[in-house]
Symmetry: C2
Subunit: 479 residues, 2 copies
């Protein structure tokens, strides 16, 4: 399949095409429904790439960071990984969107000890001509010990403006730091003060700080829509609202060895299917629970994703040729895949379909940091994203990456892991194609903004944001 070059995310680059095949071949694998990159986003990418090249250049980033300095016209955002690969991707994509919105240069830093399994090692360099990797000896952790977290700084500004004599802008001018550490995670901060990040005044404060460091496990990008300025910019960049899809297809290209795994699996096991269904089974418990298999089958058959089986020994008259349905099941525990496979091997089905159930890996337990394990995780997400339809586990950022990249509104299991799941059809179509921002702010107060300013809850003024159906959090509504 060839694709007009103005529909590629990446500028034509023969050398890079060898180093990173996925950038230039990804479009051969997605379901045919065209989701072309918006021209405004492509233009923003080209501008960002120029900025990145200029602000990385030959600068000694370590020296600049330690000194709290920046070259003329440059500001930086250092991204720090947290939790599993799905969580990492949530925050990495969010960091990139934030960089686009705030004209910061995105730099990545692996966890010490996990360098090889780090995302920035597993993914291709996204930006032509200059790297996004900080050097391994970049003194990030050492410096962070002397660096304020966002709410410490916000409190300082609060204190200076408490008597009302000074505006927060004036007050902050004397205490604005050169580095600030932003954490926005699923872990509780008292009064959720980390989420003041989403207040307009706080964004103005942050915009003045040369070096920001972001640590998050969340898809905070959805929250950017709550800020009027960003909302306007996002609507220009992504008129189709497919923010994660476009940013992900641009940013998350796996390196050639992982791409090889992905395409070898696809070509060897999935190529000849007439219909490809992905089922992502996230079981947070490592023990096999037969109820989950029943739940999966209930969802698949009651929603006509897969046919019911017949109870007789003899096969019903089959279509000739039968429709070939391939089910790609990912998950840590192999038994769920075995159960579904066995169901359709033991019995014929009422549609006379030829059904194959495959699993690209079965790792048993999460081993984030183990290179081969992490490669498989990335490969599995991409493979899922090539399916024609998806069934996902709720609350799993792993699944979010898959349907986010695919641009598919997935079925999501309802009452997953609860015994009363039989009260429902097992799963329900989600309302959103992208990830949910799980730990989204709710009625978060913004004390530095005009009185009454609250952010975080979906409302009529921000129709782009909706609660995720059956899941805690908000996401971008495709409209």
């Amino acid at each position: 399949k060839s694709i007009p070059s103005d529909e590629q995310y990446h500028p034509k680059n023969t050398l890079d095409a060898e180093v990173c095949t996925s950038k230039y071949m990804q479009h051969c694998y997605w379901n045919a429904t065209r989701k072309p990159p918006p021209p405004q986003f492509l233009q923003a990418l080209r501008e960002y790439e120029a900025l990145h090249q200029r602000c990385v250049g030959n600068h000694n980033l370590t020296e600049l960071f330690v000194a709290g300095k920046v070259p003329e016209g440059c500001k930086y955002l250092v991204w720090k990984e947290q939790d599993g690969k799905g969580n990492q991707i949530m925050s990495l994509v969010s960091a990139f969107i934030y960089s686009l919105l705030t004209k910061r240069t995105l730099l990545t830093m692996p966890s010490l000890g996990h360098v090889d399994g780090s995302l920035h090692h597993l993914l291709c360099e996204p930006f032509p001509g200059s790297s996004w990797k900080l050097p391994p000896d970049f003194p990030l952790d050492a410096m962070l010990q002397q660096t304020d977290v966002q709410w410490d700084y916000f409190h300082k500004v609060d204190n200076l403006t408490k008597n009302g004599s000074e505006s927060y802008l004036d007050a902050s001018s004397t205490i604005s730091p050169s580095r600030l550490y932003i954490t926005l995670s699923n872990y509780n901060v008292p009064d959720h003060e980390d989420r003041r990040f989403f207040c307009p005044a706080e964004q103005t404060l942050l915009s003045r700080i040369p070096w920001l460091v972001l640590k998050s496990n969340n898809y905070i990008a959805a929250g950017f829509y709550f800020l009027p300025e960003y909302r306007q910019a996002l609507n220009q960049l992504f008129p189709d609202r497919a923010m994660f899809l476009h940013a992900g297809r641009y940013l998350l290209n796996p390196r050639n060895d992982i791409w090889g795994r992905i395409t070898r699996f696809y070509d060897g096991y999935l190529l000849n299917a007439d219909k490809k269904i992905g089922i992502q089974v996230r079981s947070w418990k490592p023990e096999y629970n037969p109820i989950l298999s029943e739940h999966i089958l209930r969802c698949a058959t009651l929603n006509n994703i897969l046919p019911n089986v017949t109870q007789e020994d003899t096969a019903p008259p089959t279509k000739t040729p039968p429709e070939r349905v391939t089910v790609l099941m990912t998950g840590l525990v192999a038994q769920y895949h075995h159960d579904v496979r066995e169901k359709y091997l033991r019995n014929a089905n009422v549609r006379g379909d030829s059904i194959s159930v495959l699993s690209p890996s079965s790792e048993g337990v999460q081993q984030t940091g183990d290179v081969e394990h992490d490669k498989k995780a990335l490969a599995d997400m991409w493979l899922l994203s090539f399916m024609d339809d998806l069934v996902s586990s709720p609350k799993s950022t792993f699944g979010y990456v898959a349907h986010g990249l695919a641009g598919i509104t997935p079925y999501v299991f309802v009452r997953w892991g609860f015994e009363d799941y039989t009260q429902y059809n097992g799963c329900e179509r989600s309302n959103l194609a992208g990830p949910c921002y799980i730990d989204t702010p709710h009625g978060q107060e913004c004390p530095l903004d005009p009185p009454g300013t609250r952010i975080g809850d979906p409302n009529a003024a921000v129709p782009e944001i909706q609660h995720c159906r059956n899941q805690w959090g908000v996401g971008v509504f495709p409209g």
Copy 2:
């Protein structure tokens, strides 16, 4: 695919075709190389079927057996199962061949308690119009307690002829029993006296006994060639020497539920392959041993069964379209299949083939007697037999069934399970397509025959029989 009806093993029978699809569809699945049933064998089958129908008829077999009586012109062979499904099939096919040679009626008796998993329950009734199943209350075990084993009887004849006054034929006429229990197994009998079964005089003695009961775990049929009379008959029945293939394709047809499993797996997972390789991994130890995976890969790559992998990240220029090679790996332990699959997912290969590695089951441990387990075993053997080429574990009757049905001379692992396997290319083409008779007689004396009569070792006079290459035992040489 339609096939001329004179090349079907079974007489056209619309009702039976519904009850037992495999009889009339098996030819659609084997590798194209035609191995048509020899006309002499087909004629013998039709004669046998008539005999079976006549001698089963409305007779009360239980009463006849207890009384040691038979209807005019009838003699019976009762087959008793022993060990795993492969072992059982070895002796069942042998019993059927013996029935053909000796004009006995073959009847089958399940182990008590294992009725549902019994072969005679998993296989279709082979003989049109009358059953081969003995009633569940047939008092086989009770009667066997009062029944001589073959060497007990042979000793009695020995004793009567010891002083030389009487011929063994005269001597036996007074003591010839109405029932005799024949055991011929891998378990040691002192001086291997069970194997006197293969002596010509003993065969004459046995021919006079109305009811024989056979318990064996072995492919004793290969030994029938040692008996001049049988040898001549076998060469007429099977001019192509494919005794197991023809008898097996006639006799071993799985019932519709198992046939459904087989064809669903084939159609869903194997249909689109350009080349289908079967690898049967029999590991007698339940613990995973990584050396076996290396052994399998050594065999496959050094014998050009599968390509070597490349060491670079980038794939070599692939053929367009690449050759689709599907590897069907059977075995109790899933890890060997995972290892081989992972090898070809992680790396590209030098031939640019698209390689998929599949396993139809992973049962962990042998559970003979468990119905679903036994169904899978039978299904796996048949699936293997549909491959274009086979790699087998040595000494495994499970593998013998697969390549015997296929008529494929398999690669067999050399030094399987031994650390010094690396001295060899991992495996070697066998010299035989059918099973080995593992516990074959060696220089067995025949005291009732003319002095010097010994049977069992391959020799110039019996060119049909050869030692199995790299395996203990003898088999039928295709010539």
